[in-house]
């Protein structure tokens, strides 16, 4: 009934879309990274000049340091905390779906709206400092101090992302057989033992997925910085993608921006391979 050409037909449409909107622009960007393209003048080949400039660009390394700090703050927290959240809402209890909805709710709010709300809360006379004052703690410079800005932005990302990753873990948890937990109960295992010996090992493919996806989104984050801090104070929340945006669309230095994009691509690729080596053992040959 169904023949090979039916499959090709269905594959053709997304394939063409992928080709036009992903593959061709990527190849074009790789090409542009070896040029001095600035939109107006003809494209000029500059060889490895953009990459050489990148190595000596202190702004790039500072943006990379900020991105790595953000990644270290965000990815482990999102990958681990959302497992616990998923375990909590995986229990058979009355009204659990309401909790699932509540935890998922921040995901539905747009990043810009989230950023605006948290910006208010982080103001010097905002709700966060009010909460601190209840405990007689001096007001914090959430978004105006160099050392506080990245942790503050990470809090917002974690608040917004927990529910999203919880959903993947929830699906993973529901595929783990109940019998394993029952057997563990018979053996007298407690809550933590069950998590360490049953839940975590069996969730490993999901953990791998969550770590990879949250790593990628941490490295790509930029909207929140643009809306909340404009990369400040004094460049301390300027990420690599923020820098790409500035170079490409404010300074029209498309060639250099493409080179930074490829450097970022390579870094994400290496991190994904490392993650795969440690977390995705089942799928390795």
């Amino acid at each position: 009934m169904y023949k090979a050409h039916h499959a090709w037909l269905f594959l053709a449409i997304p394939g063409i879309l992928l080709l036009i909107f992903t593959v061709i622009p990527t190849v074009a960007a790789l090409f542009l990274s070896f040029t001095n393209y600035n939109v107006f003048s003809p494209v000029g080949w500059v060889g490895l000049a953009n990459y050489k400039q990148l190595i000596h660009d202190s702004n790039f390394w500072s943006a990379m340091k900020n991105t790595l700090t953000y990644w270290v703050l965000v990815t482990p927290a999102l990958s681990i905390l959302s497992i616990f959240l998923a375990v909590l809402v995986n229990r058979k209890m009355k009204g659990v779906s309401v909790y699932r909805l509540i935890y998922y709710f921040p995901v539905l709010v747009s990043v810009v709206v989230t950023a605006m709300l948290w910006k208010w809360m982080f103001q010097e006379d905002g709700i966060m400092n009010y909460l601190l004052s209840i405990f007689n703690i001096a007001p914090a410079k959430w978004l105006t101090s160099k050392s506080m800005v990245m942790p503050s932005l990470a809090i917002v990302t974690i608040w917004q992302g927990l529910g999203y990753y919880m959903l993947f873990y929830l699906a993973g948890l529901q595929s783990i057989s109940e019998e394993l937990y029952e057997a563990a109960d018979l053996e007298g295992a407690g809550f933590w033992k069950k998590q360490f010996y049953i839940t975590f090992p069996l969730l490993r493919p999901v953990i791998f997925f969550v770590v990879v996806v949250s790593t990628m989104s941490a490295f790509k984050e930029f909207t929140m910085m643009l809306t909340m801090t404009k990369g400040g104070p004094i460049g301390s929340s300027k990420t690599v993608v923020y820098m790409i945006y500035e170079k490409a669309f404010e300074q029209l230095d498309m060639g250099y921006a493409s080179a930074i994009s490829f450097a970022l691509f390579l870094i994400i690729l290496v991190l994904t391979l490392i993650n795969q080596k440690f977390l995705d053992k089942d799928n390795q040959a």
Binding site: L9, I13, I16, V39, F40, K119, E124, P233, I234
Partner: protein, 422 residues
């Protein structure tokens, strides 16, 4: 048979897809197929639709009736997409014939040779515009746009806060403003002057950012050092909050929350306070903008430029002149609280009354219009103006927030700006 149908279907889809892409790519093309007298020109505006549809359709209709054979195809571009769309169109050689641009982006586009020299193309109307507005389109010695609508600084202030601090009138000069700010902050906790950047503060106090030939930085002077040291002193007194220095504050919000005793901005933005807090708006009053030590105030100009690649350049320039002429600008100013860049329009009764108005925005308009002769677009007339401003402001922030030596900050900013001007 089935195989043939499947093949046909996939072909239709592929052709459909490319056709869709094709029509997108044509966007902004200047009237393909125009021959002889029939000229079709494309006109791009920035975020004016749908609010000003009636006004713009009216202007276009008048123009077309006075210029037989010329058709104007108007398209509105949302502000946030403007740069990208203009760049995409420019790179594809499809820039609209007549383009509405803000001053920063205009300079960038002009330096790339994408726009017509208005010093030559519109020499006959040059003197109709205010001098300070005409120079907004300047890059080097050439002017690449006609000034359209503009806003000039005004001042909305809160008489209640002023009264609590013992003042019955707002400040007129920078010097007076800082003295008052200190007393106001001490007695009420509210802030007065709150400069979040210095790229306009320096020129309005007699420090130009770049040399006359636009080839090197000109701001590393004893006067600039004095200003940096002064602002640092005021910051250390707690008069400029960190959030303001870092440009993280929405000023109308702070004004509406009575955290600010005054807010120096164009009267067209006063209504934002009304939306946020009608109560604060109603008790507010308006005054002339605080003036820097050289007696000049700044203005922000929206420009009308013509693409140098336009196939109907003559008609496009005519349209640019038409939409910025006194009649059309006056009509536009009556629909929204902006000011005209043409002297004749600003002489109309509409702008000369309002000194005693109870509405703070109307009163603000009166003061702003009155000061047009002494207002100037203060952005440096060079291509990289946005980056130059960024560099200088970043060094200013380092002085305030990181105790960077002001002279070292000026030296570093000078070196970076000189590199940008090369």
């Amino acid at each position: 048979m089935k195989k043939k149908i499947a093949l046909l279907l996939s072909l239709v889809m592929i052709v459909g897809l490319f056709a869709a892409c094709g029509s997108g790519a044509k966007f902004g093309k200047n009237g393909g197929g125009a021959k002889g007298k029939n000229a079709k020109i494309t006109f791009w505006t920035l975020s004016l639709s749908p609010t000003f549809d009636d006004y713009l359709h009216g202007v276009i209709k008048d123009f077309e009736s006075q210029h037989a054979g010329v058709k104007v195809n108007w398209q509105d571009v949302p502000f946030e997409q403007a740069e990208q769309r203009t760049l995409t169109a420019a790179s594809g050689g499809n820039l609209a014939d007549v383009i509405n641009l803000n001053t920063d982006f205009l300079k960038k586009l002009a330096a790339k040779g994408a726009l017509v020299d208005m010093n030559k193309a519109a020499a006959d109307v040059k003197d109709d515009y205010f001098e300070g507005a005409w120079q907004a389109g300047k890059v080097g010695d050439t002017v690449y746009a006609l000034p359209w609508y503009l806003t000039s600084g005004g001042l909305i202030y809160n008489p209640e806060i002023l009264k609590k601090a013992g003042f019955d009138a707002p400040p007129k000069t920078e010097e007076e403003a800082w003295k008052m700010s200190e007393v106001i902050h001490e007695k009420t906790g509210a802030y007065g002057s709150t400069p979040n950047s210095v790229h306009l503060y320096l020129p309005s106090n007699g420090v130009p950012l770049v040399s006359k030939d636009g080839k090197k930085a000109a701001f590393n002077t004893p006067k600039a050092l004095e200003l940096f040291q002064f602002l640092k002193k005021e910051y250390d007194k707690g008069l400029i909050p960190d959030e303001v220095v870092l440009d993280q504050v929405n000023m109308p919000e702070w004004y509406a929350q009575e955290k600010l005793a005054w807010w120096g901005t164009g009267p067209q933005l006063f209504r934002q306070v009304k939306d946020l807090s009608p109560e604060v708006y109603n008790k507010s009053d308006a005054a002339a903008a605080i003036v820097g030590s050289v007696g000049r105030r700044s203005m922000a100009v929206m420009n009308i430029a013509v693409s140098s690649k336009s196939r109907h350049q003559k008609e496009a320039v005519e349209f640019a002149k038409f939409i910025t002429n006194a009649d059309n600008q006056l009509k536009f100013s009556k629909t929204t609280p902006v000011l005209p860049s043409v002297k004749k329009a600003a002489e109309d009764e509409f702008f000369t009354k309002g000194a005693d108005s109870h509405d703070v925005a109307e009163k603000g308009r009166y003061y702003s219009a009155k000061q047009l002769g002494s207002s100037y677009d203060m952005l440096a007339p060079v291509e990289n103006v946005t980056q130059i401003n960024k560099v200088i402001n970043e060094e200013y922030r380092k002085v305030l927030l990181e105790d960077k030596n002001p002279q070292k900050a000026l030296d570093d900013a000078e070196a970076a700006v000189n590199k940008l001007l090369k």
